[in-house]
Symmetry: C2
Subunit: 339 residues, 2 copies
């Protein structure tokens, strides 16, 4: 086992001082040509690489960014991470991923672990429990310490920081509008409770489109599922009593699941009933029929978040100005609606 070589080792071996070695490796003007060549050759030979930890301690920056998300087994978050990773890597940053698993406590613990020097900034999406509680003290603590934070997708107005969101209301709006334009008369929505900020916004967009049309809003056509657990009977009963000719689902799973239910009862998609979901994941792409969705462009979101964060980390001035970037969702048309 050949152990890592340090500046001190090189200095001892070459009978020069540590500072000389350090400067020589940085091609400092201060050091003579001869010495530089000697040191650099030796360093290359023994494959010297500076110790990141020592540099971090010295510079007070780690080149790590912390990403705290509720769940990783979820296509959307996964694409966001990829976007963050790509961008951050290109700028020389590593990504430390922590999962809150929708738990407030885990979110707090993870942030505290990372906030003690391990990272230069956070990119995060709030856990549902945090959003329900409305307790953002862990975020306040971190921002007060001067650690930059970028919130994405599941955000809060209680914290002053950069934010990146999809215009979820617009998403609900354009999807519903699409149905209306296609002449659908009973447009239903299957969503979660309002505790998820995104669900709420999507539902608002849905209602806005309807109220702008001659159809008007009918609350009976909105099914609010109490959790993400699939409750077959609940959905089945809803669809059978309401008999919608179009359904907007707040996520892929509700959509694919509902499509199966109506198919089993003999309805044809998209003619008898059309579907649009949210999140452009594998499920939508390979569903039968493939599902039209409101795409959230997770990868883009990750990139934008990473850019905002790193720019802030590397900016000298301590500007106290924060911006919120709003990305526009787009419809990805597939077989589950009429073309």
């Amino acid at each position: 086992m050949k152990t890592k070589i340090t500046l001190k080792d090189i200095a001892r071996e070459l009978e020069v001082s540590i500072s000389t070695v350090s400067k020589a490796l940085k091609n400092s003007e201060e050091i003579s040509r001869d010495t530089k060549e000697k040191v650099q050759a030796f360093a290359k030979l023994y494959n010297y690489k500076p110790n990141n930890i020592a540099i971090s301690l010295k510079n007070k920056r780690t080149k790590n960014i912390g990403v705290v998300i509720p769940d990783i087994v979820h296509h959307f978050f996964t694409t966001v991470i990829r976007g963050i990773e790509k961008y951050a890597n290109a700028r020389g940053y590593n990504v430390i991923v922590c999962l809150s698993e929708e738990s407030f406590d885990k979110e707090v613990i993870n942030m505290e672990m990372l906030a003690n020097g391990s990272i230069d900034g956070f990119i995060m999406s709030l856990s549902s429990e945090t959003q329900q509680k409305g307790d953002y003290n862990h975020l306040k603590e971190v921002t007060e310490q001067g650690i930059p934070v970028v919130l994405f997708d599941r955000i809060t107005n209680e914290i002053d920081c950069d934010k990146v969101v999809i215009d979820d209301e617009l998403g609900g709006y354009i999807a519903t509008k699409k149905f209306i334009e296609q002449g659908k008369r009973k447009i239903a929505m299957i969503t979660t409770g309002d505790y998820l900020s995104v669900s709420k916004a999507r539902t608002m967009g849905y209602q806005k489109a309807l109220s702008e049309s001659s159809l008007g809003v009918n609350d009976d056509l909105v099914l609010k599922m109490p959790s993400m657990e699939m409750d077959e009977n609940r959905i089945k009963e809803f669809l059978e009593t309401q008999k919608p000719d179009a359904v907007l689902c707040v996520n892929e799973i509700f959509a694919v699941y509902s499509m199966r239910l109506v198919q089993k009862s003999g309805l044809k998609i998209p003619d008898d009933i059309s579907f649009i979901g949210f999140t452009d994941g594998v499920l939508s792409k390979y569903a039968n029929p493939s599902l039209t969705v409101v795409a959230q462009h997770g990868e883009k979101m990750g990139e934008v978040s990473a850019k905002m964060l790193i720019d802030k980390i590397e900016s000298e001035e301590e500007e106290e100005t924060y911006q919120t970037k709003i990305l526009e969702p787009t419809l990805v048309i597939r077989e589950s609606i009429n073309q």
Copy 2:
């Protein structure tokens, strides 16, 4: 912005030495009751938290583990990460995720970035390019430096380290066996080229089961796709000329895609033709019909990998003994085969 407080700050404020503060906070016997209480109270009041970087530098351990995987937008890897995260977090470790995106160069760069002190060990799955090249020098370098490595799923025999794999051959075997028991006569397989170690193993299991049966192996019944890009015509042609009554697919996507193709041509699943895939992801669960799969237990794999790695990191002795854990795949029966 209240900046982080350090030992030095506390020492100055309380007019004691830094060492006293350090010891007092660790409840050292050496320090008097009075002083300890005073220091601890002060520390709590100002919310003192030791700087991780400084501790890392001193202890030469970071409590970070590096995870290098080919792709994160992939259900299997995602579940593995979750398993790693859960286990590692419980033992006080953070997880730094790097994506090779199936590229040899990125894999090398990522490992080099992390190997210079940022992590205590690696958990990784090789990129396809690395497996094709057969160049494992970056892994050798790391292990020679004494950094523990755990390889999972996509592994190589060229490197001495701990490994965790699914018995992919067994997976192919039990799936094929299942078809045989159900009286299927023309059992096809859709796989990728042999460049992916897992595909190769699965195909071998398939062939083994067939050669043990009266059916025997027929190479015409094996379709090797040159890449993961879906080539509709290729699959369609294959299915139409071979007319199998059962198909084993090396992943979910091939399976779901193929199912759609045969459904469009009027065949009934599972009676006319049955399907089994690999990877128990969302796609299988919500496919129509839902897909029977060989489950790989990614989360378990992540846990096991993390345990092996952390045990090695924390073990005093420099044992040079490595083990390979083989997890058994299981069949998750769903609608795509006869019950």
